[in-house]
Structure formats: structure tokens, C-alpha cells
């Protein structure tokens, strides 16, 4: 099953299991979803629950927040993270703050899904990785499913949450194929996962960078370096315990984050390792991030801007020494 199909099956399961759940967003219905995630759901669930919206991100994201407060369990799809900036007011000023500002009275159980990341030559307004910005905000939960099982299960876990959850789906993952057990495993919304055990260094990553990091770990193994791969899964809250346990074992760490490095999630993770595991380290921390440039269109330039397997392997060698 592909990552895309797993997302769809998760949605289908949610829609079947709870009449309060509905999907809303641009072209989720008749078009079948920009990335074909919701293809076929309109026919099965009807236009009330698979609801096409106008191009009004702030309006329909805010409507999802309002419907959530008023008893529904909306899943709002935003075509791409760059477009979510048009709804940032609603996400930040309403979804994230209403519970606190109301002294705990107003819960916002909304799920907002969006595509993130580069690699498809979509240039500088469709390719960025801004999930780190959202992970900055108290009151939000931010997750990045990187596997087929998480694509299916994290949506269901998100819908069980009483607070707003943002799900970042990397554009390069939609076609990734893997087995999905029957019945599919129930997954947690929180907690990092060790995707590959190792002893020489920890490779800490999430989302669309996971396949690159797994490929890098394979190459490193062939060269005699056993890398442990940590998939963060949840970007807020971060699972400090799993990160520190791994770093204390391997004593070296490399963070791979498709976001830009300045003021980034990678910076946050490195700061936490310094705060919590500094004396366990045998080498300076390192990271591989996107180059600090709006993602360009031309393939060779785009590839040069994003983290790649070669870059991860050589950075890992530098850390191991």
C-alpha cells in the first residue's frame, strides 16, 4: 500500500467510525484531492462530508476551527504548507490560543493536514518545509508521519486528541510503498521511533527526510559505520527521552532537517542535546539542512538546495571522525 493510499484509508476509517468527522478543503471532493489522497471519498461519503471549499484558506481553516469548537471533528486539508500562511492567523491566534485565553473552557479538536517539502520542481511557493515554524507555537501539536503505518494511524490518533493537531505530509512520500498490517497497528501521536538501531552515531530526522536517512544509514553500514536512525514523528511535543537515550548510547549525533537551518527545528534539537546530554558527547553535533535559499525550480539547483544521501553520508563520516 502507498503512503497516499494509507492516508486515504485512515480518512475512510475515521469517516466511517465517527459521524462528526468530515473532510474540508480545496478540491478534496470532485477533483479527488490535489495529491489524490481523497480520491473516491466523495462517492462514498457525499458532499456534506467531503466538502469542497473556495480558495479562502483563512476562511475555511477558521470554519474548521469553529466547527470543532461547536462539536464536530473536522479534518481540514490545505494544499501546501506555503498556502497555510494565508490561514496562519486562524491557526495561531485562534486554534492555538483559545483554550488558554478562555481559561480552559474552549477546546479546539481540529485536524489540519497539509503537504510540505520540496523535490518535485514546484519552485519557491510550493516546496518549503515550514513545519518548524508551527512547532514553535504552544497550544498546537505538530506531527510528520514518515511511514505508511503512521500515515494511516496518526490521522486517527490526531482525531482522538482534544487539541489542534497539524499533520505534515511530505510530497515525496505519497508514492512510498510498504506493507500495512491487517488490522493496521494502532499508533501513538507522540513519541519518536528508532527506525534502525546502531551504535556509532544517531541520525535524527523526520518526515520526507526519513527515506534519505535510511538510505544513508545503509551506505554507512556498508562502510562499517552503524548509524541509529531516529524518526521524530512528533515535532511538538518533541520526544526528548528517546533522542537522549540514543545519543547517550552512540555519543554522536547528526540532525537531518529539510527546513532551513537558521532558527530551525534542527537548532532546537541540537540545543536540547547540548542542554541534556552534553557530557555524553564524544564529538561536536552536526546537521544537514536545506540551503538558505527559496527552493529553485531547475532540477539540479533544487537537488543542490535539499538534503541528499551523499551529503548525509559525508556529514556522518565527519561526525564519526
Amino acid at each position: 500500500m502507498s503512503y497516499r493510499e494509507a492516508l486515504r484509508e485512515g480518512l475512510r476509517e475515521a469517516l466511517r467510525g465517527d459521524p462528526r468527522v468530515f473532510l474540508m478543503g480545496e478540491d478534496v471532493g470532485r477533483y479527488g484531492g490535489t495529491y489524490a489522497v481523497s480520491k473516491g471519498l466523495l462517492e462514498e461519503f457525499g458532499e456534506e462530508r467531503i466538502r469542497d471549499t473556495p480558495l479562502a484558506e483563512s476562511g475555511f481553516v477558521g470554519a474548521g476551527i469553529g466547527a470543532a469548537i461547536n462539536g464536530m471533528r473536522p479534518v481540514v486539508e490545505i494544499m501546501t504548507v506555503n498556502f497555510s500562511l494565508l490561514a496562519l492567523d486562524q491557526i495561531m491566534n485562534n486554534a492555538a490560543t483559545l483554550r488558554h485565553m478562555s481559561g480552559g473552557q474552549v477546546g479546539v479538536p481540529v485536524v489540519i493536514r497539509m503537504t510540505t517539502g520540496g523535490g518535485r520542481q514546484l519552485a519557491a511557493q510550493h516546496s518549503h518545509s515550514l513545519e518548524g515554524w508551527y512547532a514553535h507555537i504552544p497550544g498546537l501539536r505538530v506531527v510528520a508521519p514518515a511511514t505508511v503505518a503512521d500515515a494511516y494511524g496518526m490521522l486517527l490518533a490526531a482525531l482522538a486528541e482534544p487539541d489542534p493537531v497539524l499533520i505534515f505530509e511530505h510530497a515525496m512520500l505519497f508514492g512510498v510503498e510498504d506493507e500495512l498490517a491487517d488490522p493496521p497497528p494502532v499508533v501513538d501521536l507522540e513519541g519518536a521511533a528508532v527506525r534502525r538501531p546502531g551504535t556509532h552515531l544517531s541520525l535524527i530526522t523526520y518526515g520526507g527526510s526519513l527515506p534519505k536517512v535510511m538510505a544513508a544509514a545503509q551506505r554507512l553500514a556498508e562502510e562499517g559505520v552503524e548509524a541509529e536512525v531516529i524518526d521524530l514523528r512528533s515535532l511538538r511535543p518533541l520526544d526528548d527521552a528517546t533522542i537522549m537515550a540514543s545519543v547517550r548510547r552512540t555519543r554522536r549525533a547528526l540532525v537531518v532537517d529539510e527546513g532551513w537551518r537558521s532558527g530551525s527545528l534542527s537548532a532546537e534539537i541540537m540545543a536540547r542535546i547540548v542542554e541534556q546530554a552534553f557530557y555524553d558527547l564524544d564529538a561536536p553535533l552536526a546537521r544537514v539542512c536545506s540551503q538558505e535559499v527559496p527552493v529553485p525550480y531547475a532540477r539540479h539547483l533544487e537537488q543542490a538546495a535539499l538534503p541528499d544521501v551523499d551529503g548525509i553520508v559525508s556529514a556522518a563520516h565527519a561526525v564519526v571522525g
Binding site: 469553529g66 466547527a67 469548537i69 478562555s102 497550544g139 482534544p162
Partner: protein
């Protein structure tokens, strides 16, 4: 089912309660008991006083940062509002919100939103949830004319009309978005025309005339409850006091303010009730005393209130644990 119509005395009572409450707030602001931004509704009371009686307990209300009057008119206790202004834990938002963020979910009063236009998409969502569940409920959303320049107004009005949602858009047109006059911010100043262009049924109402507001609101809410299209009411009104406590009022003339003050919704209604015999000097005095007593009681309650322990700082970020996790 429709709410019972308010009497003239009911409307007068509510407006007096709001007026006296806010006069006290201004005084307490000067004394330092209330801090932050404080936006007074003085002059505009007829709108909240007139619209709220048209709503049932199951209807929802979303308002702006100038919402003390709406909260009072909805029945949020003056005590809990004043305690909130003081920042006390007994406040209606536990001291986390302040003047601009009054909440009382038990009365379906959902704030208190200090982003101009920010509550409009929420109101659409409230209406959508009710429509999807076939609940005969209405959501009333109050906003100033300044919000009409925001994209969120246009997005929300379009969505509400497109999906035929039971949302009452109440535009409180007090002519100034903070200090910017309507004609200095809108190329076309006919707000009903703008609302109609989005597909809302629109109507202009004299917002200084409480009975007229009440009648228009009742009609609009009844139409919405019967399944009609979303409604837009432009309430023409005026803010007698400064925008907030920091406003030197350089943008409007004393004469203009005085001319509007002569149309005070409280004195206008009182005069007409006196003329019709529904009000006399004794009753007016009794209403005044009632309003003042409520305010004094609220202040005493707020003063006696307690401070949230700092150890609880991270409460209410997420439902499940302090700080919501980071």
C-alpha cells in the same frame, strides 16, 4: 421557537447596566486596578442590548475586543467579568484573557476576539456544525465596520452564503476603525452593498435606537431559524469614548462627538418611555440603583478575588498536560 420580545424597560435596564459597568471600568483603569487595553462600548449599548434577547440559550455568540456589553447582555455575571478585568482567577476566563477575551461557554459566549475579523471564520464553522447536525441554532457574530476591510470578512460572508449557514452578522458601524474613518479605508462605503455582493441578506438599522435594533434582530433570527440565508445587519452607531484608554482622539471633532451624544441610546429610550408612561422618575431611579448596586457588587467580588498561583502558569495550553507538551 423564538425568544420572548424584550420590553422597553428591559432594554433600558440592560443599557444602564452596561453603561454604569463601563464607567466604573474607566475609573478603575485610572486607579490601576484594570490594565492592558480597555475598549469601552459607551454609546453603542443599544446593539448588544437589542440583539441578545433575540437569541436562545442554545445559540452561540462571538464578539470583538469591545465586548463587555455583549457579555453582560448575554447574562455573563458582572462579577465574573469584573474579576476577569482585574486578572483574578475568579474571572470568566480565569484571568488569562482580560478585557478583550471574555468567555463563558456555559452561556455559549465564545469571546472576546482581539484580531479584527478573526472571529468571522469561526462563526461560519459554528453555523456549519449546526447545519450539518440539523440543529435549529443560530450563531451571532459581532464585529466593527473596520473588519469589512479584512479578507476574512469576505471569505466568511461568501462561505456562509454559499453553504446557507444560520449565521447572523452584526456589523457595529461606529464610523471609525480605531482612528481611521470609513471613507478613508473603504472605496465604497455602503456596507450593505458589500454584504449583498457576498450573498448575504442585508439591512441597515439605527443602532442608537434599542427597540429598532431588537425588532430587526428578532426578525433576522426568526428567519435564520426557519432556514433562511445568512443575514447581515449594519448597526449605525457611534463610540462616545476614545477607542481605548490610550487614544488622544485627534481624528474626530468635538462637535461630531457632541452631536452623537445628543442621540444617546439610553436617554433617547428613556425619554420615549417617559412620554408613553412606561417609565417614571421612581422607576428610572430604581433602575439606576439596581445597575449601580450590581457594579459595586462586581467590584467588591473582583477585589476579594484571588490570584492564580504562578505554579499553574502552564495550565490550559493543552487539555492533557501542563504546557501542552513542548
Amino acid at each position: 421557537m423564538n425568544a420572548p420580545a424584550p420590553s422597553g424597560i428591559d432594554l433600558l435596564r440592560t443599557m444602564l447596566r452596561i453603561r454604569r459597568f463601563e464607567e466604573k471600568c474607566a475609573e478603575l483603569y485610572g486607579a490601576g486596578s484594570i490594565r492592558g487595553f480597555l475598549h469601552l462600548y459607551i454609546g453603542e449599548e443599544a446593539i448588544a442590548a437589542g440583539v441578545m434577547p433575540a437569541l436562545l440559550p442554545e445559540d452561540a455568540i462571538l464578539a470583538t475586543y469591545r465586548e463587555h456589553g455583549h457579555a453582560l447582555a448575554r447574562g455573563v455575571p458582572a462579577r465574573s467579568i469584573m474579576a476577569e478585568m482585574f486578572g483574578k482567577r475568579e474571572g470568566c476566563s480565569g484571568g488569562r484573557g482580560g478585557s478583550m477575551h471574555l468567555f463563558d461557554v456555559s452561556r455559549r459566549f465564545y469571546g472576546g476576539n482581539a484580531i479584527v475579523g478573526g472571529a468571522l471564520p469561526l462563526a461560519v464553522g459554528f453555523g456549519l456544525a449546526d447545519r450539518m447536525r440539523r440543529e435549529p441554532r443560530v450563531t451571532a457574530c459581532f464585529f466593527g465596520e473596520g473588519a469589512m476591510a479584512e479578507g476574512e470578512f469576505h471569505e466568511s460572508a461568501n462561505l456562509a452564503a454559499l453553504w446557507s449557514l444560520p449565521v447572523l452578522f452584526v456589523c457595529e458601524n461606529n464610523l471609525y476603525a480605531m482612528g481611521t474613518a470609513l471613507a478613508r479605508s473603504e472605496a465604497r462605503t455602503d456596507l450593505c452593498l458589500k454584504a449583498e455582493a457576498c450573498g448575504l441578506a442585508a439591512r441597515q438599522v439605527d443602532g442608537m435606537d434599542a427597540p429598532a435594533v431588537a425588532a430587526a434582530a428578532r426578525e433576522a433570527v426568526a428567519a435564520l431559524r426557519a432556514g433562511g440565508p445568512p443575514m447581515f445587519l449594519e448597526m449605525q452607531t457611534y463610540r462616545f469614548r476614545a477607542h481605548s484608554m490610550f487614544d488622544p482622539e485627534l481624528y474626530r471633532s468635538r462637535e461630531e462627538v457632541e452631536a452623537w451624544r445628543r442621540r444617546c441610546p439610553i436617554e433617547t429610550l428613556a425619554a420615549s418611555l417617559l412620554a408613553s408612561g412606561e417609565l417614571d422618575a421612581n422607576l428610572r431611579l430604581a433602575l439606576e440603583q439596581e445597575a449601580r448596586a450590581e457594579v459595586e457588587d462586581a467590584v467588591a467580588f473582583a477585589q476579594a478575588g484571588t490570584w492564580e498561583p504562578v505554579e499553574n502558569l502552564l495550565d490550559h495550553v493543552g487539555a492533557l498536560r501542563a504546557g501542552g507538551g513542548a
